[in-house]
């Protein structure tokens, strides 16, 4: 679902290009000149981002989200979401990443993934959920963005890919030691967060998410259930604005899941389980 501002290595780039409308535009233009020399092979550059570099970029990205809204001050809740999330992530392609999950203290309804295995969902989204299966499915959707590095796709579509790759390259070379580069990276990340990922990548994360949830022993209909909740909410709610702006409409996502799932996963719904933790940690009956 949800959002995802996932980016991986390169999302940053997007920022770069998107930056045409920011005060940093001049700088990006300057960068463009030298990028042509330094990043002759973009495809190569994007595949050269190592996992530690991807994680470092993801950390910066997560720090921005945490700057917008801190974690809910509830260790039991945070620990629960990490344990559940880690279990879910074990059933996708990158089980060995140092996955971290968190619940943001925001009533906005949204969830985010960042490169390298960071997943954040808002308290507002959690409050709409009926069950652990719904939470597991949302986390699985976010995990899908990370394992597929969907941010790279977002970058590829941008005209400023070279500029973006350059910022990324600078960051990788100099790390967070250079505040100026870090600040360019951060503004790039913000652009990706505000634009969202490619629509097809969101639909892919939906299709993958239900399967990852089912592999983890959860009811794969948790995701359609969340989408039905979102679909029933008033789209004018300000708390929904960013998620709705960065994702296909919930009804369209349900249509796509309807076609993709058919009855294929029905039998896994019947055998699904949940822990007793969800109700306890979220203080619900």
């Amino acid at each position: 679902m949800i959002s995802r501002a996932a980016i991986a290595a390169g999302s940053v780039l997007l920022a770069a290009l998107a930056a045409a409308s920011t005060p940093a535009a001049a700088q990006f233009r300057f960068d463009l000149n030298r990028i042509i020399d330094t990043a002759k092979n973009i495809g190569k550059a994007s595949t050269e981002i190592s996992e530690p570099q991807e994680v470092e970029i993801g950390k910066q990205y997560a720090a921005v989200l945490l700057g917008a809204a801190p974690l809910v001050p509830d260790p039991a809740l945070q620990r629960y979401v990490n344990t559940l999330g880690r279990w879910v992530a074990l059933h996708a392609e990158r089980p060995a990443l140092a996955w971290q999950f968190g619940v943001l203290d925001s009533d906005n309804v949204n969830a985010f993934a960042t490169p390298g295995g960071f997943v954040l969902i808002t308290k507002g989204l959690l409050a709409t959920m009926r069950s652990e299966a719904e939470l597991a499915n949302v986390l699985a959707h976010e995990v899908s963005h990370v394992v597929k590095k969907h941010h790279l796709n977002a970058i590829r579509k941008g005209a400023g890919m070279q500029a973006g790759m350059n910022i990324l390259g600078d960051f990788v070379a100099q790390g967070s030691r250079n505040p100026e580069i870090t600040s360019r990276l951060v503004s790039g990340m913000k652009e990706v967060m505000l634009r969202g990922l490619d629509k097809d990548d969101e639909l892919e994360a939906d299709r993958m998410g239900v399967v990852i949830a089912a592999r983890s022993g959860y009811d794969p209909y948790g995701l359609p259930a969340v989408l039905q909740t979102l679909s029933a909410m008033n789209p004018q709610d300000s708390g929904l604005a960013l998620m709705f702006a960065t994702h296909p409409a919930p009804g369209a996502r349900l249509d796509a899941l309807d076609t993709a799932m058919g009855t294929r996963l029905e039998r896994y719904a019947a055998s699904a389980r949940v822990s007793a933790e969800f109700g306890r940690v979220t203080r619900r009956k």
Binding site: L66, Q100, A127, V186, G217, G239, D255, D258
Partner: protein
């Protein structure tokens, strides 16, 4: 209404300890679909829900919704139903401007906005919070933690292939 609003505000301030009144959602059928006596594909069929029929969602189980409709009550496949059918039914109540709280559609979910948060502007103005990032790391769970949790809950891992991307022009949903 006033009382409801107070309850909402209180619930919001209590964070996620928010009881969700999920009962009584409204929806409609996106296609003709069978009404079943039980939430299983091999349960007895008790009727047919026509396309676009309005329904009241009473409860949920797995991929099934228990509904009430003019065609009768029973269980239908979740993905044959869409929610939020009525255009414009849930317009802005005006409370948002007054109290920065909005009540959402038929789910009755409360959404509040504050000074801090994840609105567009708030993200634009956000400064990276390294301390909070460090706090987040403290809650990380190991693979062993996750296995223990799953064992305790009786969660059984399954081997399942990913779903194929839909092909343009391919057949529609397999389920009725």
């Amino acid at each position: 209404m006033k009382v409801n609003l107070l309850i909402l505000l209180f619930a919001c301030s209590a964070g996620i300890a928010l009881a969700q009144p999920h009962g009584q959602e409204a929806g409609y059928a996106v296609r003709q679909t069978e009404l079943k006596q039980e939430p299983y594909s091999d349960a007895a069929t008790t009727g047919t829900l026509p396309e676009r029929a309005p329904v009241k969602i009473v409860s949920r189980q797995g991929g099934w919704l228990k509904i009430e409709s003019a065609s009768g009550a029973g269980w239908v496949r979740m993905l044959a139903i869409r929610t939020g059918a009525t255009e414009g039914a849930g317009g802005d109540s005006g409370l948002k401007q007054l109290f920065n709280v909005a009540r959402s559609g038929s789910s009755g979910t409360a959404v509040a906005t504050g000074v801090r948060g994840l609105d567009r502007e708030q993200i634009r103005n956000a400064q990276p919070n390294a301390a909070e990032l460090g706090r987040m790391a403290q809650f990380a769970a190991s693979e062993a933690d996750a296995e223990r949790f799953a064992n305790g809950a009786g969660l059984a891992a399954q081997a399942i292939d990913y779903l194929p991307a839909q092909q343009p022009g391919s057949a529609g949903p397999a389920g009725q």
